[in-house]
C-alpha cells in the first residue's frame, strides 16, 4: 500500500506542478489575473505531496519491503537501520526523488516566505520553478519509477554499495542536493525577472537569501564529501578532481560568484545582466553535473546508475531549461537597463575581478572535466588528471585569495589608492615575514605552490579580520561578521592544503606483529592482526599502539573490511587527530612472507582544510541571519502590534 500511496502522491504532485505552470501562464498573460491568487496554495500543496512521496520511499526502505524493486536491488535486510535509511537516496531513482522533493519543498518555501519580491516577478518565479519540476516529475514517472513492485518479492536484497555505508555518506547527498536544488530557486528568480523585466536592487535583495542558503548547503556538502573521500577511500588525499567531485565544485564556484555579484546588485544596483547570467549558469552547472554523473559519458569512481537512456532524458531537460534560459536572456536582457556606474578603484571593481577569476577557474575545471569527451569525439582517448587542475587552477586560486583579502578593505563606488594602501600594510608585512621565515627554513624542500599558498594563507588570514579593526565589535553587523569568518575560513582551508602538500610524511612498510614503524616522530607498533565482525561485514583488523616522544601510547585499529552483499572490500583507515595534524594508517595486503603492508601518513594541519570549510559555511549562515533578522524582527513586531 505504501508504495502505491507514494506513487499516487507523486502523480498528484506532478499534476499540481502542471496546474501551477498553467495558472501562472494564463494569469500573467493578462485578463485573468485573479487566477494568480491560487498559485501559492498550489505550490505549497505540491511541495507537501512530493515530500509525502519521498517519506513513503524512506518507509519502504526502513521496513525492507522486498516486494519493491528498488529496495530489493539496493538494500538488504541485514543492514543497520541508518544505511537502510540512507539507502533511500544511495541509488538513481531514490536520489532523483530526493531531488524533486527538495525542489518541491523549496518551491513551497518560496511561495510561503518570499515577501520582498514584486508580485508578478514572484508569480513568474513560481512558474519557472513549476516548469523545472515538471521535467523531473516526467523523468521519474516515465523513466525511473522508484515504486515499481516485483512479483514474487525478492528473498533478500542485494545491498548498498559498501563504500556508501558510512554515516558521512548518509547525510552528504541530501546536503549537496539542498545546495544544487536551492540554486534552481535562483534560476527561477532570474527567469522570472527576465520575463517581467525587473532586474534591480530590490530583486537582488529578494534573491540573495535564497542564493546564500543554497551556497551554505553546497559548501557543507563539498566539505563533508571531501572528508569522506579522505577517510573512506584510504588513499590519503582529500581532493581527486574526479568528474563527480568537479560536478559539485562547479556549481559552488558559480554560486560563489553569484553571491558576490548579487551583493553588488543589491547594494549598488550594478552588474544587472551579469548577475542574471550567473544565476542561470549556477543552476546549469548543477544540472550538467547531474547529467555527467547519471549518463555515464565520463568514467568516474563515483558514477552510479549509469544508463545512456536516462542520460538522454536529462540531456533533453538540460536543452530545454538551460537553452531556454539563455535564449530568454539573449532576447530580454536588452530591456534590462544598465545599472549604476562605478570607478576603477572601488569595491565593485574588486568584486568584478573576483567574479572574473571565479569564472575563469570554473571554465578551466569545466574544460578539464569535459576534455576526455572532446578528444573522444575526435577519436582519441585521454584522461585529465590532478596535475592539470592543480597547476592551472592553483595559481589563479591564489590570486583570487589576494583579491579576497583586498576587496573588503576598499570602499563602495570610489576609493583612492593612497587610502587603500595603509589598510593593506599589516597583511603585507605579515606576508613578507612569513615568506622570509619559510624561505629560510624550507626553501627547496617544499614546492612553489605550497610556499606561496602558505604565505598567502597567513597574510589573507590577517587581512580578512582587518574589517573588524578599530570597530565596536558588538555594534558590528552580523553580516560583516559573516563575511569576515567566511573569508577567514578560506585562509584556514588554504593553510591546511598548503601544509598537507608541503609537510606530509609518508611511509610504506611491511611488518610482522611486534615490528615497529617510525614515521615523522611517531612510533607505531603492530601488536596483532585479528578478524572482527560487524553488522553486515567481516574484517581483518590490525591492533596497533602508537606513541610520540615520551607520550603514553594510543591504540589504533585500521581494518580491511569485507562486505558479503554485494561482495566488496573496503579500507577503513585509522585516524588519530592531534592539534597539529593527523596520523593516517591504512592496512594493506598480506604478503607471501607473512608480512603485512602498512601505509602511514603524518599530515600536519590537514584538518584545517575541513575546519576552514565549516568556517566558510558558518560565515554564510551568519550573513544570512544578519540580513534576514531585520525583516523577521519587523514582521514579528507588526504581528505583535496587531495582536
Amino acid at each position: 500500500m505504501i508504495a502505491e500511496a507514494g506513487l499516487a502522491a507523486l502523480w498528484l504532485a506532478a499534476a499540481l506542478a502542471l496546474l501551477q505552470l498553467i495558472l501562472v501562464g494564463i494569469g500573467l498573460a493578462g485578463q485573468r489575473s485573479e487566477l494568480l491568487g491560487a498559485v501559492r496554495p498550489v505550490a505549497v500543496a505540491q511541495g507537501l505531496l512530493v515530500v509525502t512521496a519521498f517519506i513513503s520511499l524512506i518507509t519502504l526502505f526502513i521496513r525492507s519491503d522486498m516486494s519493491v524493486l528498488l529496495v530489493a536491488t539496493n538494500s538488504h535486510s541485514m543492514k543497520p537501520w541508518l544505511y537502510k535509511f540512507a539507502g533511500t537516496w544511495g541509488n538513481h531513482e531514490g536520489s532523483m526523488l530526493l531531488w524533486v522533493a527538495v525542489m518541491g519543498a523549496a518551491g513551497a518555501a518560496v511561495a510561503l516566505f518570499e515577501r520582498a519580491l514584486r508580485r508578478d516577478t514572484h508569480m513568474a518565479t513560481l512558474g519557472g520553478q513549476a516548469a523545472i519540476s515538471l521535467g523531473f516529475y516526467a523523468f521519474l514517472l516515465f523513466a525511473s519509477n522508484p515504486f515499481t513492485r516485483v512479483d514474487p518479492p525478492a528473498a533478500d536484497g542485494q545491498g548498498l554499495n559498501p563504500l556508501l555505508q558510512d554515516p558521512g555518506l548518509a547525510f552528504h547527498p541530501p546536503t549537496l542536493y539542498l545546495g544544487y536544488v536551492g540554486l534552481s530557486v535562483a534560476f527561477s528568480f532570474a527567469v522570472g525577472a527576465l520575463l517581467t523585466r525587473q532586474v534591480d536592487a530590490a530583486f537582488a535583495g529578494a534573491m540573495r537569501p535564497w542564493v546564500l542558503a543554497a551556497w551554505i548547503f553546497l559548501t557543507l556538502g563539498i566539505t563533508a564529501g571531501s572528508y569522506w573521500a579522505y577517510y573512506e577511500l584510504g588513499w590519503g588525499g582529500w581532493w581527486f578532481w574526479d568528474p563527480v567531485e568537479n560536478a559539485s565544485l562547479m556549481p559552488w564556484l558559480a554560486a560563489t560568484a553569484l553571491l558576490h555579484s548579487v551583493t553588488v546588485l543589491a547594494t549598488r544596483d550594478a552588474l544587472r545582466a551579469w548577475t542574471v547570467m550567473l544565476a542561470v549558469i549556477a543552476f546549469s552547472m548543477s544540472m550538467v553535473g547531474t547529467f555527467l554523473v547519471r549518463s555515464g559519458i565520463l568514467t568516474s569512481v563515483h558514477a552510479f546508475a549509469v544508463d545512456p537512456e536516462r542520460g538522454t532524458f536529462i540531456l533533453v531537460l538540460l536543452g530545454l531549461y538551460i537553452g531556454g534560459a539563455f535564449a530568454l536572456f539573449g532576447w530580454r536582457v536588452g530591456a534590462v537597463r544598465e545599472g549604476a556606474p562605478f570607478e576603477l578603484v572601488s569595491r565593485e571593481t574588486m568584486l568584478v575581478v573576483n567574479n572574473l577569476l571565479l569564472s575563469v577557474i570554473l571554465g578551466l575545471v569545466l574544460i578539464g572535466t569535459l576534455y576526455p569527451l572532446m578528444t573522444e569525439a575526435f577519436g582519441h582517448k585521454v584522461s585529465v588528471g590532478a596535475p592539470y587542475f592543480d597547476r592551472i587552477a592553483g595559481p589563479i586560486a591564489l590570486i583570487l585569495m589576494i583579491v579576497m583579502a583586498v576587496g573588503p578593505l576598499t570602499r563602495w563606488r570610489r576609493d583612492r589608492l593612497v587610502d587603500v594602501s595603509p589598510r593593506l600594510a599589516i597583511p603585507a608585512v605579515i606576508a613578507l615575514v612569513v615568506a622570509a621565515t619559510l624561505a629560510t627554513i624550507a626553501w627547496g624542500r617544499i614546492g612553489v605552490l605550497p610556499f606561496f599558498g602558505l604565505t598567502i594563507a597567513l597574510a589573507v588570514g590577517a587581512a580578512s579580520v582587518a574589517p573588524l579593526w578599530k570597530r565596536n565589535l558588538r555594534r558590528t553587523p552580523l553580516f560583516t561578521w559573516g563575511m569576515v569568518i567566511a573569508h577567514l575560513g578560506c585562509a584556514v582551508s588554504l593553510a591546511g592544503m598548503a601544509c598537507d602538500s608541503a609537510f606530509t610524511v609518508e611511509k610504506l612498510a611491511a611488518v610482522r606483529p611486534g615490528d615497529i614503524v617510525e614515521a615523522a616522530d611517531w612510533k607505531l607498533r603492530l601488536i596483532q592482526i585479528a578478524p572482527v565482525a560487524g553488522d553486515n561485514w567481516t574484517a581483518l583488523q590490525a591492533d596497533m599502539e602508537v606513541s610520540r616522544g615520551g607520550g603514553s601510547p594510543v591504540s589504533l585499529h585500521p581494518q580491511s573490511r569485507f562486505f558479503a552483499s554485494p561482495p566488496t572490500t573496503t579500507t577503513e583507515a585509522a585516524l588519530l587527530t592531534r592539534w597539529n595534524g593527523q596520523l593516517y594508517v591504512v592496512l594493506g595486503q598480506e604478503g607471501n612472507d607473512g608480512r603485512w603492508q602498512l601505509r602511514v601518513w603524518w599530515k600536519p594541519f590537514v584538518t584545517l582544510i575541513w575546519f576552514g570549510g565549516a568556517l566558510i559555511a558558518l560565515g554564510g549562515l551568519l550573513a544570512l541571519l544578519g540580513r534576514e533578522r531585520r525583516g523577521w524582527l519587523l514582521k514579528w513586531r507588526a504581528r505583535a502590534l496587531a495582536a
Binding site: 528473498a155 533478500d156 542485494q158 545582466a273 547570467m277 542561470v280 549558469i281 546549469s284 550538467v288 547529467f291 549518463s295 555515464g296 559519458i297 549509469v306 545512456p308 542520460g311 538522454t312 540531456l315 538540460l318 536543452g319 538551460i322 537553452g323 539563455f326 535564449a327 536572456f329 539573449g330 536582457v333 536588452g334 569535459l370 569527451l373 572532446m374 573522444e376 569525439a377 569485507f562 558479503a564 552483499s565 554485494p566 561482495p567 572490500t569 598480506e590
Partner: protein, 175 residues
C-alpha cells in the same frame, strides 16, 4: 559587438549540448571483460573448498578436454539461481570446475547439498587473489576453457536458461 556577447552563452551551451549528445550516441561497452580472453590462465594452486571434492590447480584445466570454470560463492544469491543451469550443463556431459570465493568449507558443503553439485573440482580462493588474477570482477562468472588451458569465453553474471545453448556452442567451438 554587444549583441554578439549577449548570444554568446547560448552559442557556447549549444556547443556543449552537441558534445554531450555525441558522447551519449556512442556509449562504451561498460561490461568489464577479462583481458585474458584468448590467453592462457595464470597458474595457481588452490586448496579444496568442499569435503568431497578434490582441490583445483591451473594445470588440471589443461588436460585436452574443454571445460567450464565457474566462479561462485555460497553467500551469493544469483549463484543459487544459476545452479539448475549448471546441473543441466553437467548432465549434457560438460566438465565443470569451480572456484569458491571467500568461503568456508561448511558453507560450501551446505550450499552444494541444497542446490546440487555439478563440479569435479573446487578450489577455495579465500582472498579473491585468483579471481582477480583471471580477470573476474564478481560472482557468479563462468569461463569456457579450451583443452590447452586458455580462456575462450567469459560469461559475466548468472547463467540463465537461454545462456545454456550459447555456452554449449562455445564449448563446441573449441573442441
Amino acid at each position: 559587438m554587444k549583441k554578439l556577447l549577449i548570444w554568446l552563452p547560448l552559442g557556447l551551451f549549444a556547443g556543449f549540448f552537441a558534445l554531450f549528445a555525441s558522447g551519449l550516441l556512442k556509449p562504451d561497452d561498460r561490461v568489464i571483460t577479462s583481458k585474458l580472453v584468448g590467453k592462457a590462465l595464470p597458474s595457481f594452486t588452490l586448496p579444496t573448498a568442499a569435503s568431497d571434492r578434490p582441490p583445483l590447480a591451473s594445470q588440471e584445466l589443461a588436460t585436452g578436454k574443454p571445460r567450464l570454470l565457474n566462479i561462485f560463492a555460497s553467500w551469493c544469491v544469483p549463484c543459487a539461481a544459476e545452479a539448475p543451469q549448471l546441473m543441466a550443463l553437467k548432465d549434457a556431459g560438460v566438465e565443470i570446475d569451480a572456484i569458491a570465493i571467500r568461503d568456508a568449507r561448511v558453507d560450501v558443503d551446505r550450499f552444494l547439498q541444497r542446490y546440487g553439485n555439478p563440479y569435479s573440482r573446487i578450489g577455495l580462493d579465500a582472498r579473491s587473489s585468483v579471481q582477480i588474477a583471471i580477470g573476474s570482477s564478481g560472482v557468479p562468472e563462468t569461463f569456457v576453457i579450451d583443452g590447452q588451458g586458455r580462456i575462450a569465453y567469459q560469461h559475466i553474471g548468472d547463467i540463465r536458461a537461454d545462456d545454456v545453448p550459447i555456452i554449449l556452442q562455445r564449448l563446441n567451438d573449441v573442441r
